[in-house]
Amino acid sequence: MRVAGTVSGRRPGIRKQGALMPSRTDSNNVTSSDVAPANLVLLLVEDDLLSRDMLLIKLKHIFTHVEVAADGAKGLQLFRDQAPDIILSDQIMPCLSGLDMFRKIRAIDQNIPLILMTSFMDNDILLEAINLGVNRFIPKPFNHEVLVRVLTELKLEVSGKRYMEQCRLQEITLLRYRDQYNAMQQEAARRKERHVARHDLRNKVIYGADGIRWGITVTHTPRDILCGDGYTIRNLPDGRQLVFMVDAMGSGLSASLSALLATSFCNYLVDHATVSLKTLITGFQEYLNGILMEDEVLSCGFFLVDLMSRKLEMAVCGLPPLLVRTLDGLVRRVPGANPPLHGCSGSIEITTLSLSDIADVMVMTDGITDASLSESSTYRDRLENDFQASPTLAALLRRFRLHTVRGEQDDLTLLQLQRLDLPAAWNWRQEFEETGQRTGTIHGLLEALAGEIDLKREERSELEILLNEALTNDLAQGRLKAPGMLSASLWQGALSPLLTLELTDIWPGLDQFRNASEGSVLDNIRHHCDCAYIQDPGSRLLLLKTIVGGADYAH
């Protein structure tokens, strides 16, 4: 039975059974008409025809949609089919009484407003009705004013709740959209940063005078999505390398933009101009004067690496002093010659460092030196000691993370130029003809090494994994083919010895490494050592690992 004004089927905004959620999933499209009281549906359950007709006359003025059932069983069916917003029911009816019907409805929907009409209001009925959560009672015979007032109040209450719920859903949707948007922007910014920061020599061996091999490693850890630090490492056509590191002072987007622009322009100069450090810096300064705000400064360093001439030309402006270690382990600090750059900077002094007896050079931004050790000290206080103990960047970073206060760190950029051919205190080498010999080769090396230095048990296990990964796994994948050679050397210039493992493949199996330098195979190997380099040409893989040994490297 359907009264005039009722529409067939589900309407927008109609309640789903057992839930308060509006049926619309896209709450952004909610309009005022969706939450208008007129859109609420009333289910009237009344077996008496006369009462029903009289009620309908009144109800039509309050609700535009009224579903009608002649007994409790039909009322229950209509509740399931039409999902009304309010139910008005008589108590005494054939098949299913009003309360019996309400009990079944409550099992499905705990929240739908229920109104009970009855001429007999004894205590048992009243108690059960209260327990079932009946919202209102209307005594029979009807007082029309009471009926209209009760229904109007409930209608407004339901409309208000519906409106609040839809507002909440709108807000949640909006927040989700904003989160997604922000995440998308952040990822785009990260991609851009990675795109601008170049490392032409990642995992690659660089040749210097007398065939001495070198490598450059870098770590770059932004504190936020966009970072005030930047770097670029470029291999120049004449065989030299240009390293640029920048720390835009200040914080937030402004510093990030300055760092990104400076790095990008430096790349442009390298790609489009003849590189002498002087012309590069002049062009850079001209550009910088146009982009820096009047109270903005930029710490940066230009490093022109000329390994054939064994020298490092540099213009360091406001970066922390370089840490330089000689082949015999002597560490010294080399301060920059210039203050940070600003819009009115004068000429920049270029200095030269001889690399003849240098084992490695560490360059960093102040995120390393200014990191808090405690309330009254910074990492600057122990940096030099930690560097003395750490032959690689990875080893230094482990110490840094161990001692500094987590969560309070600035952007970190740390770069190491390191000699790979170091005066070894111990050497070992073995050829292996067949793949079956590799296990014996690994064990032979580990035994020999354990006889030379105090190897921690975990270190031995880690070395075994590393060597197996480098030999076995890659043999299986056809990257390294037998016969080959495994050699090892120890350098004890730093307090913790540096183990260099070198895999030589006389077949071109390692060629595939070069093409997969970003791939999972090398990533996996890198996980177990401090750094990995591929020699090109020559089919050699160099793995560097700091040996902590019996000493506790935390101290």
Binding site: M249, G250, S251, E294, D295, E296, V297, S299, G318, P320, P321, P335, G336, A337, N338, P339, P340, H342, G343, C344, D366, D370, S376, S377, T378, R380, D381
Partner: protein, 99 residues
């Protein structure tokens, strides 16, 4: 961090200069003195071991663009070393006070 100014051109800072808020407070104080006509500013940093990059940028602007004559005395040798590393001792007329 605590800041106070004595006379027309002296600003005294106690505690660590760490946050952006610290830098803003110092900038505001110095700006007030400069607006009142002070062309010589004496900044006494009693015990801070560091200084923010925002402050360095501001002080550079003060010296190079507004041509303010700046003197800084620092009480902590670590801050003095930092300013020395940054090659700012001369530009900012930095002196280490003895304790």
């Amino acid at each position: 961090m605590h800041i106070e100014h004595a006379g027309d051109n002296e600003v005294v800072i106690t505690g660590n200069i760490k946050s952006v808020e610290d830098s803003l407070l110092i900038k505001e104080t110095i700006n007030t003195l400069v607006a009142q006509g002070s062309q010589n500013i004496h900044l006494k940093i009693k015990d801070s071991l560091s200084i923010t990059s925002t402050m360095i940028g501001y002080l550079m602007k003060l010296v190079h663009q507004e041509k303010v004559h700046l003197f800084i005395t620092v009480g902590d040798s670590r801050l003095y070393s930092l300013l020395e590393e940054l090659k700012l001792l001369q530009q900012f007329n930095v002196h280490l006070t003895e304790h």
